[in-house]
Subunit: 115 residues, 2 copies
């Protein structure tokens, strides 16, 4: 289950990034890996859930302690450079939402015990 982001006690923040990959993904893998490594080293980073279908539609959610952590990450220079390159070249379209996680559950282990 290490694939799933950890679930610290709410409230905390989620950055919900939905995106359609473009036809030109040259350099994407290297930069994506570097960005995840960089995010992971930022104060307040809590985890990441990420997946992409064969048609190029991807969703990446990064979790953060608070809004300050998100702002600091955004202002990070390396991240900005990746943003400028990536947003124009790698994505046909994307949406980005900042949301405050208020409640959470997991399963199905122990599910019947909670009902």
């Amino acid at each position: 289950m290490t694939k799933f982001a950890p679930m610290p006690e709410p409230p905390y923040y989620a950055v919900i990034f939905a995106n359609q990959a473009s036809a030109d993904l040259s350099g994407y893998d290297v930069m994506a890996e570097a960005m995840v490594a960089q995010a992971s080293s930022q104060p307040g980073f809590l985890g990441i859930d990420s997946t992409r279908a064969g048609d190029g539609f991807g969703i990446t959610i990064s979790y953060w302690k608070d809004e300050t952590s998100i702002r600091n990450w955004r202002d990070n220079l390396g991240h900005m450079a990746a943003q400028k390159l990536g947003m124009e070249r790698w994505y046909d379209h994307y949406t980005l939402r900042i949301a405050k996680v208020e409640r959470q559950y997991e399963g199905p282990e122990g599910r019947s015990a909670r009902q």
Copy 2:
């Protein structure tokens, strides 16, 4: 861009469902389609972003007007039946987070104009 959920004015709510599909997905497609159709007909439903990679790791985010809409959806009988069946059979593991969307952006169209 119809693939992306619409972006109404925040605040609104996101139900973030990350899941690892199990080996036994018999009946999954039919039920998943029915659940999306059912959610779409619920008051307060705003849209859905969903994707799944070849390894079975999926993320589905449904967006809702408020917490009451989410509660009503959850309490819907058909949805509950699907939950009970699905959570045990179709998913090896899942996480579910309820989050309040506070800010949002989209791009890359018009990105430079906003900087």
